[in-house]
Symmetry: C2
Amino acid sequence: MTKVTKVKFVAYVATSIDGRIAKDKKSSSKSWTSLEDWKFFQKSLVSFDAFVVGSNTFKIEPRLKNRNSIVFTSKVREPKKLGKITFFNPEHSNILTFLSKNKYKKVAILGGPRIYDFFLKHKMLDELFVTIEPYVFGNGVPMFAGVFKKYNFILQSVKKLNKKGTLLLKYKHAN
Amino acid sequence: MTKVTKVKFVAYVATSIDGRIAKDKKSSSKSWTSLEDWKFFQKSLVSFDAFVVGSNTFKIEPRLKNRNSIVFTSKVREPKKLGKITFFNPEHSNILTFLSKNKYKKVAILGGPRIYDFFLKHKMLDELFVTIEPYVFGNGVPMFAGVFKKYNFILQSVKKLNKKGTLLLKYKHAN
């Protein structure tokens, strides 16, 4: 039996006031998130061993190609490595075993909604950083795409990042 | 020509971290919002002349029957008054004219998503109070049900209402 090391999962999400993270699945948040959030996000990424994203997010974030990125996709059966990137099907392989084998101990979850939901429902979301930009979108891609259930978090900190009121909230999973 | 007085519209919304305001349109937020938010909300209502809600919200909030409530519905053509309640079709009557005739100057918008969206898209949302309870729902009724557009707001204040981290955010429309 493989010994599975405890991995810390931290999710980062930038959202409108009304919980929308993009106009549609092809659009990047870079067009509307603040410079202050971008700086915080880039600085945070340095401390992680690996990054998990969905295939849509991977397509619109070219910088992920130069990092240890795990791209969740249904298009492979076994994990498929291409340079620093691993295409990974969480329905067919165990992500904890994979991370443990690679000695990845601190993993950032960068979305989209189905990826956030995967870690939420499998009780693997340890921390959640939410940046709320001061916009209402009225519609768009929601933060999580799952099944309704009440997951408890505890607010750890609140930081105002700029004058117009971009807020950075840090939550910890309550259980 | 009827002189239309300037009306102040303030929306109140309680949400999960992921921008969900209810499990479905028949469920009330009372089951999961904090006592601290409830107290803030009840205290705030005192200063308003009237309240606008949708018919689903009206059904699940019996206390609205004792207040000057305007229930948006497609089921009437002309405004229909029953005690303190007016059933009102915003597609057939002008809400500003109606409020002016009744000398209502400060109006609270209490949801749901299509009602919030009506005031947002007609540029009538002056202020927005958002209470974020420390839960992730994964799915449910979104805060706004409209068409994607970037509406600018300015953060006015942030208040932590209790120990687990219920947050009260106050936003002002930016234009």
